[in-house]
Symmetry: D2
Subunit: 340 residues, 4 copies
Amino acid sequence: MGELIRLALLGAGRIGRVHAVNLARHLPGAVLDCIADVDLAAAQRLAAELGVACVCADPLEALSRPEVDGVVICTSTDTHVPLVVAAAERGKHVFCEKPLALDLRGTDEALAAVARAGVKLQVGFNRRFDSGFARARELVRSGQLGRVRLVRITSRDPQPPPLHYVLASGGIFRDMTIHDFDMARFVAGQETESVFASGACLVSQEVAQAGDVDTAVVLLRFESGAMAVIDNCRHAAYGYDQRLEVFGDKGAVVVDNARSNPASLWDEAGLHQDRPPFFFLERYAQAYRDEMEAFVRCIRHDEEPPVTGADARAALVLALAAARSLQEERPVRVAEVAMG
Amino acid sequence: MGELIRLALLGAGRIGRVHAVNLARHLPGAVLDCIADVDLAAAQRLAAELGVACVCADPLEALSRPEVDGVVICTSTDTHVPLVVAAAERGKHVFCEKPLALDLRGTDEALAAVARAGVKLQVGFNRRFDSGFARARELVRSGQLGRVRLVRITSRDPQPPPLHYVLASGGIFRDMTIHDFDMARFVAGQETESVFASGACLVSQEVAQAGDVDTAVVLLRFESGAMAVIDNCRHAAYGYDQRLEVFGDKGAVVVDNARSNPASLWDEAGLHQDRPPFFFLERYAQAYRDEMEAFVRCIRHDEEPPVTGADARAALVLALAAARSLQEERPVRVAEVAMG
Amino acid sequence: MGELIRLALLGAGRIGRVHAVNLARHLPGAVLDCIADVDLAAAQRLAAELGVACVCADPLEALSRPEVDGVVICTSTDTHVPLVVAAAERGKHVFCEKPLALDLRGTDEALAAVARAGVKLQVGFNRRFDSGFARARELVRSGQLGRVRLVRITSRDPQPPPLHYVLASGGIFRDMTIHDFDMARFVAGQETESVFASGACLVSQEVAQAGDVDTAVVLLRFESGAMAVIDNCRHAAYGYDQRLEVFGDKGAVVVDNARSNPASLWDEAGLHQDRPPFFFLERYAQAYRDEMEAFVRCIRHDEEPPVTGADARAALVLALAAARSLQEERPVRVAEVAMG
Amino acid sequence: MGELIRLALLGAGRIGRVHAVNLARHLPGAVLDCIADVDLAAAQRLAAELGVACVCADPLEALSRPEVDGVVICTSTDTHVPLVVAAAERGKHVFCEKPLALDLRGTDEALAAVARAGVKLQVGFNRRFDSGFARARELVRSGQLGRVRLVRITSRDPQPPPLHYVLASGGIFRDMTIHDFDMARFVAGQETESVFASGACLVSQEVAQAGDVDTAVVLLRFESGAMAVIDNCRHAAYGYDQRLEVFGDKGAVVVDNARSNPASLWDEAGLHQDRPPFFFLERYAQAYRDEMEAFVRCIRHDEEPPVTGADARAALVLALAAARSLQEERPVRVAEVAMG
């Protein structure tokens, strides 16, 4: 297995806990060296649970530990860029949750720091590691679907986030659709030429007051003429809806929702299955494990991460284009926003 | 069952044959009285097969038979309007294949003649009668899905039509998407405010030379803020792809493709099902029967047809808006094209 | 198409009506010449509906019409043998509903008459014509499944028949399982060596008083060592359950229930489909049409029917063996009962 | 979480490794204290991988460690009874892999020792913890299916074991069907009155020389008159086939195979899914974790284990009855073999 890779976790919140547990328990080649959180008690609780000795409130303290090979950044979005820069300057490899930043300036600053330092940067587009979506990508890459004609992505949440979350999220495109922009690029293996977005507030009027939408359809046009359609909603009564289709000239791949269990009840009212796994923690448990394993492997074998800073930038560009399209009610060429 | 309804068939081609067989064999309350086709031999062959005594080359001759209650118009699109007008003027009820006309002027002329005569006009949007799509409509109408948020329609053909067909078809939106425009209105029970269309020639470059596209995505925005996304392709390697989803605040309905048979083969290479029913004649066999039955029932009971001339006009308006949107690369408000 | 085949229907009850409608409306090459029923009014109603001119109360009268090529026997089971014999003696081809007879003596009498006369006899094992089961047979025959190891057949009715029907039915094995015995032979393409049956009255105690069971499992052992398991129940709350699996050394075929429609409702309570088609008239509509078409084709082209009198006898032998096994609580060798 | 539960692993083979990894990494409340294996190198490798300090060749040494609360017995079947007895005598709680013993005498000896010592005994019927099968049990227990009428269990392996394994296995009923006997009792919540078994060598003739079968169907009759049918095969070309159906008077539950991933490929040859998860390690990964968690929880909270020694005995009785039934070609009453 080779030498252990030592990682520091910055941010002991919900997603931080997922990565910490995976590192501490499921990735034998990695060591969770240190947990930092401004809420020191939260860091301490998680560290105690996982048997991690080093805890601190200041992320820079964690970043300065010489034994640390890399960091996993799970703090609030506004701190991502300075922490990526600080980590890179200390020669630490970086895994950063999505979105890397809400603007291109910050994104480019982070990418530049990473490039200067020669460290690795992997961004948290975990869905690429989902077994179903990975299989779809493989079928495209292998040529079994032929030339891609259309990608269809459905992403709907089982319940809307609280209003304060929406207000701080940067809007649906940078918060939620960002995963789908990355997925579209990932499975199609193509770059986007223009974006058209349409949206509405059909779940909550509060969201409208925040200038955002909760239901959206985004149409991407790839440079080849192929297209992608993404539909999002902040609420779905029947649960977390995460589906994908890729349609090519030789065939299509259809990725259904995962099932909570393989049992069906048949009775007088019909045939019934349970709703899909509740939310992202359940649906993407395997994907979170595999993305962290990929990060550790990249450090160990000095390889390019499977999701790079350039991928983060490209998804952000699409989100910015979508926001402008929604605002101006017209298709927006990626070139209009890509320069920052 | 009451008195028999006597119908004349105009046009003994492929779809004419479907309606003729249904009328002659599967609808005990109807009588196929007469078959007219400019290709008299074709009319004679079909008449012989079905035991129909009256055959003629001139549709006006069929329309003038006093015993005929109604006509089923399956001739080429350019003859639809004059034949609807001629039938209405003779007091005959009219079933007309889609599209009623390729322009609003012709459509309005036909609608005016029908209104003046007080006869019934049913248009051939057969998919409304498909058991799966009808169930979807029922779930929306009953309120089980709550307020509609999104309609998703997939319609892809197993193989592209010959080029000469494409050239005469009026373009993909008036020829193929027209069914989906009607379906979107039907299941959502809402009217459209604006249309955005994107398209490409990914199947054949010949189509591009004809100024048409063979792959398209159309986004409709309903007056409520809800949306519909339609995707079309003139070719799908895995067969005729006819699916629908309607997503509301209380739930969703998902209509899968029909299966050719309920058998699956499980072997070393995986689990396999046969492709779906080949094309519209197979997939919509039940729907064609039911739409003709509905037409006969409307005449018998003097009821409003389930698909009216107004529905034909509304779908055409959406097709025209889509064509303009594709041309001008911008969302087009329905009001821009609805006046004709 | 060649000359028309003229058929007489004997018995205008429920299943007689199905065959009559198929002959009169859906099989252009056949003519329903005459309908006979001791309940003359029933025969008259059906004849009027289908435009059949000849009606009689006495089946022998129908059998004596010189223009009749064959008969479709849908009368009560106890009349099958004398009618088959009478038809054969008059040189008429015979389609007879299952069971041909409740005992081997009657069966052999009918087979002998048919053999003497050189007419064709097809027996109403309609399920062989179901698209799913036919596909299963084809996969076995083609060798794609390899050597058969196990056949599993599920057959459950949506609701139990009235007690008087059960009393006259000859017991579950000759009435209900008879279809499954035929299916096992059909898909496996093998003959049975021994039978073990187990049963219970779990639906109704009245059935027990009649000496019958309403829930049964039957295990067949083929001569090759391969096996078949059949399970039956006179009641299933979720509807008509008709499934089949064949498992071979290269793979398996799994035939699911048909769907009433391809729509699923997804809501807070889960994912829901409608129950399968109600009962045999709905589920096997296509199979009934195709078996009658096969009968007509056999007459026209002078071919061996796809389901013969020998098939009827073989299924009856299995039913008799199952009944003895249930009675004596031991596996029964087919040779013990096959001689009659 | 309370005090940590310290466990010793006896047997570092394939299944031992599964439990060891679950204890060491996935069950925070448990500590894997010691690993014993007669192949000391194997124990050392596993201990090194999991960071376990104590390793020994002699299981009695592990059993004698005062800090150990319980043992997980994964050694060869012939050692199960003496190790259970030795563990019980030392006051250690016991998890023992299935089968507890190949005969009733050994089973009863183990149960008596456990009873005398007042320790807990959980047996490795892991499938009870599978999410699909557990859901089936819950639907029966809740009354949603009504009174059980039939249980159907399919269990087929993707590939046959080596001949030497078969020879030492005690035969298919005690080795393979033993899981299904337990599942039938578990989901039905009923005891069996009689057993009828049929079997053949359809995979390999070598197995016949060993006096065993590789393909079997077993029919259980419960005391209520309800039945269960189990079918087994040592080989299935399409992969590990693990399905269950329970049919009651109010409805049924159907547990399908798990899917390797939720992607389907649609192409010219049809619609394709990947084969199910390869074998028990993959299919039952979650079940293995949950059964070990249940064992730890029972120790911590001093509760009755969910799978007891009495369950192991009952399944063995059914296996013995099945073997006698196959031998004597007759249904065997459980009372005939239950006394040992």
